[in-house]
C-alpha cells in the first residue's frame, strides 16, 4: 500500500521526529517503495503458524526480587544534558 504525505506526518509524530514539510513527499515516496517491497510476504501461506518472537526457546529466567545494584545517582547524572541538585532538569511539562 502506498504511503501518503498524511501518513508520514502521522508516523513522524508517533516517532517524535520533526520532519520539515518539504521532506514529507520525498519520504512518502521512499517509504512506499520499501513497503511495496516488504509486501511480498503476502505470498507466504502463514495460516496456523505461531509467530516467532525469540530465537531462545527457554523460558525467561526469574531472579530473586532483591536489590542487586544501585546507589549510582551521580554516575547516572554525569551524562545528563542538564541536571541540578541531584535531579534531571527537563522542559516545563505542566503549566
Amino acid at each position: 500500500m502506498a504511503i501518503d504525505v498524511e501518513t508520514v506526518r502521522k508516523v513522524a509524530r508517533l516517532a517524535r521526529i520533526a520532519e520539515p514539510e518539504a521532506r514529507l513527499a520525498g519520504l512518502a515516496q521512499e517509504l512506499s517503495t520499501i513497503v511495496a517491497w516488504i509486501e511480498q510476504l503476502g505470498e507466504v501461506d502463514t495460516d496456523g503458524v505461531e509467530p516467532m518472537t525469540s530465537c531462545v526457546a527457554a523460558k525467561l529466567p526469574l531472579r530473586d526480587d532483591v536489590v542487586s545494584d544501585g546507589g549510582k545517582r551521580d554516575d547516572i547524572l554525569e551524562n545528563a544534558p542538564r541536571s541540578d541538585k541531584g535531579f534531571f532538569v527537563v522542559p516545563k511539562v505542566v503549566e
Partner: protein, 491 residues
C-alpha cells in the same frame, strides 16, 4: 617494530609468552600504526593510546607474576556500539556524541578480564544500520583494499566496517563487532578477514547499544579462524544481566580448529544461487564445495524454500524493534538535547537533529508497521514468516551438519555507489540475514580474490550452539584456500 602488527593474535600470544616482546611494545606498535593510518582509513572514531599503554603495563606485570590470562597483553579494537567505562561510546551517532558510559559491557569486561588491551573505539554505521559504513556520523571508513590498478576508495562493508578495516590493515590483532543482519560477516568478506556471528544468546548483549534486540549478537573479527576462536571463547558466557543470554558451557573453540571434517555432511542451498550473482562468486562457491569434498565431507543439495522472504521479513522485524529501542533517545537523561518551545518539540527536534537519514527511515518504518491497523498485516505476518525461515533450517539440519554459501553477493563496492537506493543497499545482506532470523551461528572465511584483486568470503552456517563444527569447517576452507593476500599499503 612494525612487524609486531603483522602478527596473528595467536602468534602475538606466543611472542609474549616467550618474552620476545612485551605487551607495552605490542600496544605501542599498534598505537603508532593507528596514528599513521587513521587520517586516511577513518577506522577508529576514538584512539585511546594512554589507556592502551596503561592496560599493557598492568598486563606485563600480571604476566611477570605468573597470572597471565588467555588474552594476556593482546591489543584489540572495540566497535563503538559497546559501552566502555569512562570512554566515549556513540554508536556512530550524533545523538550520543559525548556520552561517557559509567559502566562496561559484559563482552568487553570479559576481554579485559582475560588480559586484553583496548586501543580505541571503532567506526560503524549509525546504530549499526547500514552495510557500507556510510551512515556513520563520523564519515565512512575506507577499505584498506583497492581494486587492481585503481585508486577508487571502497567501502569496508558495514556495519562493523571499522572493525574489519582495522583488522585488515593490521591496526589491531582482533576486534569486537556485532551482527544484526550480516554486520560481522559482510565486512569480513569485504576485507579478507574472518568474522563469526555466534548463536543468539552466546554473547551477552548487556552494555551493547541496542538496535534490534531479538537479532543483535556480538562476535569477533580476526585475521585467522584460530584467532576468531580464541576471541569468541573469551567474549562468550552466561550473563544474568541479559535475560536472553544462554546458560550453557562455553566449549574450547580453539580445539575444533584443525580437527578433521571427514564425514561431515554439507548442504548447498539451491535458493542461494540468486539471479544476477557475479560469475566469480558462483565459481568460488563451487570451489569451496570441491575443497570440502577433498577434505572428506559429503556434499548434498538442500532447499531452504523461504530464503527470498528473509530480507523483507527482516525489514519489518528489525525496524519495529529499533523504533522501540531508540525511543530512549529523548534528550532528557543523556546525549544530545535540542531546543524547542514545548516538551514534545524538544523531543522532536532532538531526534531530528541527532539521528541521520537511514536511522530516521528505519524508525519511521518501524513505527508504521507497529501502528494501529497495520500491526497484524506487517509485524505479525513477519514474525510468522520468520518462524517458517527457522523451520526451513531445522528441516535441513536433519540431513546435514552445516551449510556452505557465499557471504555476500558482491565484493567491496565504491563508497557512494549504492546509497541512493535503500533496497539495493539492503540486498547486501541477502545471504547473511537468514541466520540472524533463525538465531544460528555463521562464519565468513576469506576464500579468494576476484578478478579485480578484491577479497571474497565464503559463509558456513551451523546448528544452534554448534560453533565448534563451524570452526573445524572454516579451518578446512582456510587451509584449502591458503588465502595469504594482504592489501597493498597506501595509507
Amino acid at each position: 617494530m612494525s612487524d609486531l602488527t603483522a602478527m596473528t593474535l595467536k602468534g602475538a600470544l606466543g611472542g609474549l609468552e616467550s618474552k620476545s616482546f612485551s605487551a607495552v611494545e605490542l600496544a605501542q606498535a599498534h598505537v603508532d600504526a593507528i596514528a599513521a593510518a587513521n587520517p586516511r582509513l577513518n577506522a577508529f572514531v576514538l584512539e585511546t593510546p594512554e589507556k592502551a599503554l596503561e592496560m599493557a603495563k598492568a598486563s606485563d606485570a600480571r604476566r611477570a607474576s605468573g597470572e597471565a590470562g588467555p588474552l594476556e597483553g593482546i591489543s584489540l579494537g572495540v566497535k563503538d556500539l559497546f559501552c566502555t567505562e569512562g570512554v566515549q561510546a556513540t554508536a556512530g551517532s550524533n545523538i550520543l556524541k559525548g556520552f561517557i558510559p559509567p559502566y562496561e559491557s559484559t563482552v568487553t569486561a570479559n576481554l579485559w578480564h582475560d588480559g586484553a588491551v583496548m586501543l580505541g573505539k571503532l567506526n560503524m554505521d549509525e546504530f549499526a544500520m547500514g552495510s557500507s559504513n556510510e551512515t556513520s556520523a563520523f564519515g565512512p571508513v575506507t577499505n584498506p583494499w583497492k581494486g587492481a590498478g585503481s585508486n577508487q576508495a571502497l567501502t569496508p562493508g558495514g556495519s562493523s566496517g571499522g572493525s574489519a578495516a582495522a583488522v585488515a590493515a593490521d591496526l589491531c590483532l582482533g576486534a569486537t563487532a556485532t551482527d544484526t543482519g550480516g554486520s560481522i560477516r559482510q565486512p569480513a568478506s569485504f576485507t579478507g578477514t574472518v568474522g563469526i556471528k555466534p548463536t543468539y544468546g552466546r554473547c551477552s548483549r548487556w552494555g551493547v547499544v541496542a538496535f534490534a534486540s531479538s537479532l543483535d549478537q556480538a562476535g569477533p573479527i580476526a585475521k585467522t579462524v584460530e584467532d576468531s576462536a580464541i576471541l569468541l571463547r573469551s567474549m562468550s558466557g552466561h550473563d544474568p544481566k541479559d535475560s536472553t543470554s544462554l546458560d550453557v558451557d562455553v566449549p574450547d573453540f580453539v580445539s575444533f580448529v584443525g580437527k578433521s571434517v571427514k564425514g561431515l555432511r554439507i548442504g548447498i542451498p539451491d535458493e542461494y544461487r540468486i539471479d544476477g550473482m557475479p560469475e566469480e562468486i558462483a565459481r568460488l562457491w563451487d570451489q569451496g564445495v570441491e575443497w570440502l569434498k577433498a577434505a572428506g565431507c559429503e556434499i548434498k543439495r538442500v532447499s531452504l524454500p523461504h530464503t527470498k522472504y528473509a530480507l523483507p521479513a527482516y525489514y519489518i522485524v528489525a525496524p519495529a524493534e529499533a523504533s522501540s529501542n531508540l525511543a530512549r533517545y529523548d534528550g532528557m537523561r543523556y546525549g544530545l538535547r535540542a531546543e524547542g518551545g514545548s516538551l514534545t518539540e524538544v523531543y522532536e527536534n532532538t531526534r531530528a537533529e541527532g539521528f541521520g537519514d537511514e536511522v530516521k527511515r528505519r524508525i519511521l518504518i518501524g513505527a508504521y508497521v507497529l501502528s494501529a491497523g497495520y500491526y497484524d498485516a506487517y509485524y505479525l505476518k513477519a514474525q510468522k514468516v520468520r518462524r517458517k525461515i527457522a523451520d526451513d533450517f531445522d528441516a535441513v539440519f536433519q540431513e546435514v551438519d552445516a551449510l556452505l554459501t557465499p557471504t555476500a553477493p558482491s565484493a567491496a563496492f565504491a563508497l557512494g555507489d549504492r546509497n541512493a537506493d535503500p533496497i539495493a543497499m539492503y540486498l547486501n545482506d541477502v545471504f547473511t540475514v537468514t541466520v540472524n532470523l533463525a538465531g544460528l551461528p555463521g562464519i565468513s572465511v576469506p576464500a579468494g580474490l576476484d578478478a579485480g584483486g578484491l577479497p571474497l568470503g565464503l559463509q558456513l552456517i551451523g546448528r544452534a550452539l554448534d560453533e565448534g563444527t563451524l570452526f573445524s569447517l572454516a579451518g578446512a576452507v582456510e587451509d584449502a584456500a591458503a588465502f595469504r593476500a594482504k592489501p597493498a599499503r597506501w595509507w
